[in-house]
């Protein structure tokens, strides 16, 4: 799968990239909401792993925009903000899954597989 990972923290992107690549996926990184949308406009992705807390454009906005695109990638929201409201909002905006940080690697990978398999 082509996966777009959006997070402003270096220390998240690196392990995620490693893990997903190791799992055999193609990974593109974006550090801001703008970068993510740019990446989405340039290519198609099957899945977007999205952190809600982004500088500049907010994660929810990215989620909305992404879901408005024709390709409509699946979105896995990954965030330190674990409030119920955020979860509900994310899901309402169309996210397929929601995971709170910190997460275990295995959990993440299995979630990703699940989403991939649903395709």
């Amino acid at each position: 799968m082509r996966i777009l990972v959006v997070d402003d923290e270096e220390s998240i992107l690196v392990p995620l990239e490693f893990l997903l690549k190791k799992a055999g996926h193609q990974v593109v990184l974006a550090r801001t909401g703008e970068e993510a949308l740019e990446a989405l406009s340039r290519g198609t992705f099957d899945l977007m792993v999205l952190d809600l807390m982004l500088p500049g454009m907010d994660g929810f906005a990215v989620l909305e925009r992404a879901k408005a695109l024709s390709q409509r990638p699946k979105v896995l929201v990954l965030t330190a903000r674990g409030r119920e409201a955020d979860r509900a909002k994310a899901l309402a905006l169309g996210a397929e899954a929601f995971m709170a940080k910190p997460f275990g690697i295995q959990d993440l990978l299995s979630q990703v597989e699940e989403l991939a398999g649903g395709r």
Binding site: D8, S11, V14, P15, F18, A80, G82, K101, P102, I105
Partner: protein, 832 residues
């Protein structure tokens, strides 16, 4: 002498007196209130008795005419003692008579009316003697022998008329009659000058009388001092009696106490009045002797008139007549006025109150004056013929003296009780009546001689207990006063002191209405003005005082009953006050409780807020922790699960791991610092090289800067200060991390020193958006990946170090903070 001339001159003189009285009320009011007017008004003590009777008495009895004037002299010497007690008391309570005082002091309802009634009766002889003097004089000068009685009645009526005119024109609660005072002072001067003139002319024309007494032993005996015990007792008794009379005569009380405007006037009166008495008595002896020498058949009481006529000096005789009439008139006017006040206050007011006729007080006063004068005339008819003028006057003196034990003991002895006063007064009255009053009537034939003899030898009215040789007056005086005093003292010692009077309190409105009803609108105005700021109890007391001046204290009390309610007496009042105090305390306590409750509610709110803040802190903290923890966990797991990573990859992961761990520990540090700040851990001050510190901070953040590709610039001055090193470092690191997080390419650290040390951290990042500028130092305001606490902590730290921190204007974000420059002082024994 032509009777018309007599009458005309009489009326002219009286008219003049009346004019003086009017002026005294008006333009000459200040004169009327001067000390000299006051002093001369006291000379109302000298009546026709002094003017004519003294000469008569000296001509027959000798020197015993004189002690009557020594008594007042002695009494006035004691004025400092009396002034406080009597004058201030009278002023404070508007006492108009001794009867008022007795009621005030003893509270017994019977004392006032008894004293008032007795005084009226007791003074009848005195008033009658004035009538007799005038009638005698008039007849003598007219040269006819018409019965006295025909002249006496019109005289009585005329005098009553003048008394009414002088004293009852309006109702003044203070009973001040300035015009009357001035008129009396004027006439005192007239009678003094008249008598001195008569004496002077006689002496001048006839020379000294003393050489002419050579072969007149009976006249020489007049010059002798009292020889035996009886004579000495008489002398001493007269001194004492006259002193008491001076105090207790209603007219004397009126002019000396009621009409007194300034207690300091007594300073003058204390010596000037005795001087007056001394002067007016100077002509008496010569006149008496000449009278005996030249007019052996004449009435001694008329010598003052007869001698000028004998010398062929008609005008002088007329002057003497006017002087005598003047003296008599003054006495009658003032005495009957005083008596009318007594009558209306103590005898009539209770009746008037019952019959709701209080509005016509002035009318009843006038009726009283008329009645008194008619009664005086009656007494004159009944007993006046047989007695010489002075003898009649002395009977009244003894009557008046009966008030002395109750009055003086009441004034100076706390143990005097109402029962004692009443017993003494009754006893004294009884003895006076038995020994003096009734025998006088018997002697004139109006009562059977039984009253001269008594039922038993030991009960002879003029010789009780077998005492002989004393003249009736001395005897009567000593007997009555002894019994009076004994009873007053004795009964007082055996009876309890009276319970405290119940006080009353009321509303000013109602009290004012009452005053208007009884005393008129001026009194109401005056009361309103005075009672403006008074509490109910004192307002009621003031109203009572004002009323008492006009209707007497007993009636005033009765009147007040309707418009006031009782205040519990002292003992009960204490309980009431205690209860009031307790309720006040209770209210204060309840208030304090309410305060405490409110504070508790506020504290609770604050606690909740803090709790919430703590929750938020925890949430924020845990939120902040999650990200690095995620990374750490992920990286660690990766490292663990992939032992065959390339060196490069492994290195990368490890460094990331390290970085995140550092981040975690920094976060923990910040939280710890926050809690430490909350706990108020004291500063650890030590000399710090700020430049070195700045360098250290820069070194610490260098890896991060390098990683992000941000250039660090610095411009550091050499600065030393006394401060907490760790905290300053923390602040620097906070700001630098912040700057590094937001900077695009450049972060600059400046250290300057002027009066303070100034640190400046600037980055070229997007800066702080306007809306966030004010909130940037608030906790949990993270807007980009920080802890939300960093700047807040920085501020707390800087402030605890004594500096300031702020966000500067300009491109990017520039945070600056100051530190005070402090140098450690050597302990040189001065400041530290």
């Amino acid at each position: 002498m032509n009777p018309l001339v007599l009458l005309l001159s009489l009326f002219l003189y009286l008219g003049l007196l009346f004019l003086v009285a009017l002026l005294g009320e008006g333009r000459w009011r200040s004169l009327a209130q001067s000390p000299w007017a006051y002093t001369l008004s006291l000379a109302v003590y000298a009546t026709a008795w002094t003017f004519m009777g003294s000469v008569g008495w000296a001509a027959t009895e000798g020197a015993s005419f004189l002690p009557i004037y020594l008594g007042p002299t002695l009494v006035l010497l004691l004025w400092p003692f009396l002034q406080e007690r009597l004058l201030s008391l009278a002023r404070a309570h508007r006492l108009t008579s001794w009867a008022d005082f007795l009621y005030l002091r003893f509270g017994h309802g019977l004392l006032g009316p008894l004293a008032a009634g007795f005084l009226v009766v007791g003074l009848l002889p005195y008033l009658a003697l004035q009538l007799k003097a005038i009638a005698q004089a008039f007849l003598f000068l007219r040269g006819e022998e018409e019965p006295l009685t025909d002249i006496a009645l019109p005289t009585a009526l005329l005098l009553a008329l003048f008394a009414i005119l002088f004293g009852t024109r309006r109702l003044d609660p203070s009973e001040r009659h300035q015009g009357l005072v001035l008129a009396v002072a004027f006439e005192s001067l007239v009678k003094l000058l008249a008598l001195l003139l008569v004496g002077g002319v006689v002496l001048w024309q006839l020379g000294s009388p003393f050489p002419k007494l050579q072969n007149r032993p009976e006249l020489l005996s007049l010059l002798l001092p009292p020889e035996d015990l009886a004579g000495y007792l008489e002398w001493a008794s007269l001194v004492l009696l006259s002193g008491l009379a001076f105090l207790f005569l209603p007219r004397q009380f009126h002019v000396s106490v009621v009409e007194n405007t300034d207690p300091q006037h007594l300073r003058l009166a204390a010596w000037a009045f005795p001087l007056y008495l001394l002067l007016i008595n100077l002509p008496v002896l010569p006149l008496a002797l000449f009278g005996r020498l030249l007019l052996p058949e004449g009435n001694p009481d008329l010598y003052v008139l007869a001698l000028p006529l004998e010398l062929g000096n008609g005008p002088l005789a007329l002057l003497a007549f006017l002087g005598g009439v003047s003296a008599a008139t003054a006495m009658v006017v003032v005495e009957s006025l005083a008596l009318s006040i007594l009558i209306s206050n103590h005898l009539l007011s209770p009746l008037l109150l019952r019959f709701r006729a209080l509005g016509s007080l002035l009318f009843w006063r006038r009726i009283s004056i008329l009645t008194v004068m008619l009664l005086a005339y009656l007494y004159f008819r009944l007993a006046g013929e047989a007695y010489a003028l002075v003898a009649m006057g002395l009977i009244s003196f003894v009557a008046v003296a009966q008030l002395a034990p109750a009055g003086l003991l009441g004034l100076f002895w706390k143990g005097a009780t109402p029962q004692g006063a009443l017993a003494g007064l009754l006893g004294g009255i009884a003895v006076w009546a038995y020994t003096l009053f009734l025998p006088a009537l018997a002697r004139s034939g109006w009562l059977p001689p039984f009253f001269l003899e008594g039922p038993h030898p030991l009960m002879r009215p003029e010789g009780l207990l077998g005492v002989r040789g004393l003249d009736p007056v001395t005897h009567g005086f000593l007997a009555s006063l002894t019994l009076n005093l004994a009873l007053t003292l004795g009964v007082s010692l055996f009876t309890r002191r009276m319970a405290l009077q119940e006080e009353r309190t009321g509303e000013v409105e109602e009290l004012a209405a009452l005053l208007r009803r009884v005393l008129g609108p001026e009194a109401e105005e005056s009361f309103r003005h005075q009672a403006r700021a008074l509490p109910g109890r004192e307002a009621a007391g003031l109203a009572e005082t004002l009323l008492a001046g006009s209707v007497g204290p007993a009636t005033a009390k009765l009147l007040l009953l309707s418009v006031t309610r009782a205040v519990p007496p002292e003992a009960l009042r204490e309980e009431v006050e205690e209860a009031a105090r307790e309720s006040r305390e209770l209210r204060a306590y309840a208030q304090a409780l309410e305060e405490a409750r409110r504070e508790l509610a506020e504290a609770y709110e604050r606690l909740k807020a803090l709790d919430q803040a703590k929750d938020e802190l925890l949430a924020a903290v845990s939120h902040e922790l999650k990200t690095p923890l995620t990374a750490v966990r992920a990286l660690a797991e990766i490292l663990e699960a992939n032992p065959d990573l390339s060196e490069e990859e492994r290195g990368r992961f490890v460094s990331l791991l390290t970085k995140e761990t550092v981040r975690l520990s920094r976060l923990v540090e910040e939280i710890l610092a926050y809690t430490r700040l909350q706990a108020g851990v004291p500063l650890a001050r030590s000399p710090t090289d700020l430049r070195a510190l700045a360098v250290e901070a820069l070194a610490l953040v260098e890896p991060l800067a390098r990683e992000r590709g941000i250039t660090m610039e610095s411009h550091l001055a050499e600065v030393q200060t006394l401060t907490d090193r760790d905290r300053v470092l923390q602040v620097l690191l906070n700001l630098l991390h912040n700057a590094l997080r937001h900077a695009r390419s450049r972060v600059r650290l400046e250290l300057l020193a002027n009066q303070e040390a100034l640190f400046r951290v600037s980055d070229d990042g997007p800066g702080v958006p306007p809306q966030a500028r004010t909130l940037v130092f608030e906790p949990f305001q993270s807007f980009s990946g920080g802890t939300g606490l960093g700047l807040f902590l920085a501020r707390r730290l800087v402030e605890s170090l004594g500096g300031r921190i702020w966000l500067e204007e300009g491109e990017g974000a520039t945070f600056a903070f100051t530190l005070p420059l402090e140098v450690e002082h050597e302990d040189s024994g001065g400041r530290r």
